[in-house]
Symmetry: C2
Subunit: 226 residues, 2 copies
Amino acid sequence: MVCADVSLEDLLAFHIPIDDMAFEAGATIYNMADHANAVYCVRQGAIKLLRYDVSGNQRIVRFLKKGDVVGLDSVFANEQQHTAIALTATQLCRIPMSHFKDFINKHPALQLRLLEKTQEALRETDSWLSELVSNTVPAKVRLARLLLQLRIGDSDRVHRLSLADFGGILGITPETVSRLLSELGDSEILIKAGRGEHGRNYRADIPALTAISQDVGRARQTPKTY
Amino acid sequence: MVCADVSLEDLLAFHIPIDDMAFEAGATIYNMADHANAVYCVRQGAIKLLRYDVSGNQRIVRFLKKGDVVGLDSVFANEQQHTAIALTATQLCRIPMSHFKDFINKHPALQLRLLEKTQEALRETDSWLSELVSNTVPAKVRLARLLLQLRIGDSDRVHRLSLADFGGILGITPETVSRLLSELGDSEILIKAGRGEHGRNYRADIPALTAISQDVGRARQTPKTY
DNA sequence: CGTGTACTTGAGTGGGCTCAAGCAGGGTGG
DNA sequence: CCACCCTGCTTGAGCCCACTCAAGTACACG
């Protein structure tokens, strides 16, 4: 870790004039192909980054939580690469791009820090690719994996997204998600718990979910000699 | 672009003792979870980065071509995040991690450059997610998109990977890939051309492929009011 | 010229999609 | 407070694309 003792947000906040902004659940923060004129830090809440397919389907590409930086892509490209939408009530601080660039140039330590953040994002995206969207893995298993990633801290609570959002991440339809979720409900692995402080959520049987998430179904008949 | 006039490779080569290495097609460069003790630059050839699913299926996560940097992830993590395998005969230069880190610290300009490279990778991965692996898009369309990305320069040639590799990227089985490819062959959109200087390849009808790649099939019956 | 690996092709199955209708819940206005 | 709607969720029936398993063919390499 580089400078692990100081949060990126604090670092920036200390030196740069910052606008605080609030968004309610479902609000759009910026759109794909917009001119990028700012970078944001997430203070509170969760955000989804998504892209629209040629055919108009939305595809969720990443999640951002408290402490993450939004819109870093646009430091080099100057168009936004995604549409950003708040999943829960969200508080951001906005850093105008020009200030941000100045600051980067003056503080080399920050560069390493940003590099690290970006690689973190890359690693997360790679996991999504290999674990969440493989059609070769049954949808139920992938849903279980996703639910585990949506776990709130170390508790037995997981964020309850909309069916469309679950589907947008896994690449399946809301109907299928609904069927799978009610299946999990029947086995009492997932119980709808009202809306907590982090928006609505489930109470989940974590061990059971973990078991499902590792289920191989019946993997291809390849004896795998090694 | 930062320092766009000097390739990253040259920059490094100038200052650091470098080992040249050669790999033949199919050779493993490093394995996932290996201790990461070097960074590589691709001089010639193509490389795939892949991960293994819990159930043992391989999933290709990224491509690297001439000029790309391999193993950057491990500057912060110190385990390799992927397995790297040469797709074609490949020439790399190997930079020991300790030297690399020294060099980064001494040359801040390089840091920005690496940040840019990493974001490029991130952007590419996002495209894969949204365009190549969406099960909502028919496999034929996705294959066409992939083939277009495998185009060699501006020519009408595209790299001809193994069926397993095509499948590993798109998340479909080799059998399905075979059927789709022969379908494209029947329409004379794809013609097997022997092995060129970049390994074996197809001669492709680019306009036709482009048309297919944008085909929406019959997108969900959502009137889309906006 | 044989042998293994990659590719092809076929028949049958099934998971997830489509379309469609019904059901909750939570605002809003009367 | 209730009737209303509107959006999000549920559930069902039928279909189709891609998967599985299996057998056969081309091709590269020794």
